[in-house]
């Protein structure tokens, strides 16, 4: 009994769900802070993930050197991309629709360039050979890379959680989320916090792209898919809330894997229902007197 009783087709799928959920969390945590702190709904967030995934594909050499190079490049690309987006939306402060249009324009141009440079067909990224095999969990084989990915993503998630919820930097960020005007009035430099969050979110998204490329690979359209799921995570978890994003991401990850295995085709409805429930409940608690 013990481990063997626990391992069946559903728990293996649920493990996949954890991998998807943690990947989504690392991406969506950046987006939720960007929306919460800077008020920018960045349509180019999925593009950053796709950039990371293509980086991983381009630099993959079957060993850890390629992965390390790709990660280093990811930090640079993410920081540059985030800073570029911050500079792009700075003239558009208080014009959220124009921010959406501008970031959407960037996403369109980038998507076209990606398919020109890397081709229009989906690319599969192999993990480094040392972790390419699979281990047996009971009667099932499970890829080593995916287990390692879960561990790394969990560490990232914990670090992010600590940074935002427990550290002094995080306190500043949360203060700007809660009330930007008051934060500015007590001397916090909200402009720097905004840029910093966009840069940090960019680095997280591109890094997630490099690490997650063997899970959700680079392909035209993957940017939209990632954007939609991280957006659902943001709406369900509450804008600017890391804790909510973690729970929502794990839930969405399970819906996309275990949910699809249990009730094929129902995933879209479960996600829509989750958004409805989140919006309804949040409206009740935070906006009393607001008409339904």
């Amino acid at each position: 009994m013990g481990l063997d009783g626990l391992v069946n087709a559903y728990t293996i799928t649920a493990l996949d769900g954890v991998a998807h959920g943690l990947l989504l969390f690392v991406i969506a945590a950046g987006l939720t802070l960007i929306v919460g702190v800077a008020g920018v709904f960045s349509m180019a967030h999925g593009t950053l993930y796709l950039a990371g995934a293509y980086l991983a594909w381009h630099l993959a050499d079957g060993g850890f050197t390629g992965l390390t190079l790709a990660l280093a490049a990811a930090v640079a690309v993410g920081a540059l991309g985030g800073a570029g987006l911050a500079a792009a939306v700075r003239p558009l402060t208080d014009r959220p629709l124009d921010q959406v249009l501008a970031t959407l324009g960037v996403a369109y141009i980038a998507a076209d360039q990606f398919s020109t440079v890397f081709g229009a067909e989906p690319r599969s990224v192999d993990p480094p050979q040392a972790v390419a095999g699979s281990v047996s969990l009971g009667a099932f084989q499970y890829p080593v890379y995916r287990l390692g990915f879960i561990a790394v993503a969990a560490v990232l998630a914990v670090a992010l959680f600590w940074l935002v919820e427990r550290s002094r930097t995080g306190a500043v960020v949360r203060a700007v989320v809660a009330d930007a005007g008051m934060a500015a009035a007590i001397g916090l430099r909200t402009g720097i916090v905004r840029t910093g969050v966009l840069v940090g979110g960019g680095v997280l998204a591109v890094t997630a792209g490099v690490l997650g490329a063997p899970v959700i690979g680079p392909a035209p359209g993957a940017d939209t898919t990632i954007l939609v799921y991280s957006l659902i995570v943001c709406v369900v978890g509450g804008l600017g809330s890391i804790r909510g994003a973690l729970l929502a991401a794990l839930g969405v990850g399970q819906t996309l894997t275990l949910g699809v295995a249990l009730a094929p085709g129902a995933a879209a409805f479960v996600l829509a229902a989750a958004m409805l429930a989140a919006l309804t409940l949040r409206q009740r608690t935070t906006l009393p007197g607001r008409p339904a």
Partner: protein, 332 residues
């Protein structure tokens, strides 16, 4: 009797306080409209089949842009998922097409389909405002996209439909010129309906909600119900666009619900900045940039569209919108 070509000094019209700004003559829009209509009707005799089919696509997107404009221009809620209702309408029309090829029936069924889909999903969407509304409609649109891939007839391959018959007794429309004229007639019909809607009391209430929702609520109206009604209307218009899209391409696939279509409709509505005519012009402009100019640039229409979006974001649109508000036929 002598015709007075120049008004006598005593009868000289003194400018009213409202028209103290330099404004264009009243007859100009009517003449411009007539010229545009004549040009639109005469187009099949002027250009080749490829441009005509692009023009028909532009008209379909113009209808979708009007649907987006009902929400963003009147109610102040930017939708980024209108393509979902276009796809629902197109699939409804494709299903009806297995029974009858009669275009008007497909159009009505698609309108009803889009409206029903919007009524169901609108319950969720109208709870949000501003950017959250945009995010929620975007999410809903993509979920419909995913559901169409999984459940719709034909799966991701899509469904082919027979050519549409405009009126009973007429032959099926195969040549692009006739299809274009049918789509033009339907677009004008929808345009008239939308023009009536824009001038209604309901539209005034929607504008009131966009300007100051609590005040509309304080006067005893239900903003939630009004917005849901607007959302259903917009869904119906988008569904009608779906039926027209079937008439043009004779094909529907889940790609019709893609985010790119919704984004194009929203951008066109924003180009129009509140005006329905402007939204239609914007849609035709964007389709021309994406398909026609993009075709000339070796298929980089997406990049061109992205540049259009960037341009639209950074141009001082609000000042331009101010300018159109000074036109004499537009009430403030």
């Amino acid at each position: 009797m002598t015709t007075t070509l120049t008004p006598s000094p005593g009868a000289a019209t003194t400018p009213t306080p409202n028209s103290r700004r330099r404004s264009i003559p009243v007859w100009l829009p009517a003449v411009a409209g007539a010229v545009a209509l004549a040009g639109a009707v005469g187009l099949p005799w002027l250009v080749n089949g490829y441009v005509i089919s692009l023009a028909a696509t532009g008209l379909v997107m113009a209808v979708l842009a009007m649907s987006a404009q009902v929400l963003v221009g009147l109610a102040g809620l930017p939708p980024l998922g209108q393509a979902a209702y276009l796809a629902v309408g197109a699939y409804t029309a494709a299903t009806i097409a297995t029974v009858t090829s009669l275009g008007p029936i497909q159009l009505l069924a698609a309108t009803a389909g889009g409206a029903v889909a919007a009524a169901v999903t609108g319950l969720l969407a109208v709870r949000a405002r501003g950017t959250t509304f945009l995010m929620v409609t975007f999410g809903l649109g993509e979920l419909v996209h995913a559901a169409a891939n999984a459940w719709a007839p034909g799966g991701s391959e899509g469904v082919h439909t027979p050519p549409v018959i405009a009126l009973p007794g007429l032959p099926a429309m195969v040549r692009p010129g006739w299809v274009y004229l049918y789509v033009l007639a339907c677009t004008l019909l929808i345009g008239v309906a939308v023009a009536l809607l824009v001038r209604s009391r309901f539209a005034l209430l929607l504008r009131g909600i966009a300007a100051h929702e609590p005040r509309v609520q304080a006067t005893g109206h239900h903003p939630g119900r009004l917005l849901l009604a607007a959302y259903v209307l917009a869904g119906g218009i988008a569904g009608a666009a779906g039926a027209l899209s079937i008439a043009v391409t004779r094909y529907v696939s889940p790609a019709d619900a893609a985010m790119g279509i919704s984004a194009l409709a929203l951008a066109a509505a924003l180009i129009g900045s509140g005006s329905m005519t402007g939204a239609c012009a914007g849609a035709i402009l964007l389709v021309a940039a994406r398909d026609w100019a993009g075709g000339l640039l070796a298929g980089h229409g997406t990049t061109l569209l992205g540049l259009c979006f960037l341009l639209l974001a950074y141009l001082p649109r609000h000042r331009l919108a101010d300018l159109t508000c000074r036109f004499p036929w537009r009430r403030p």
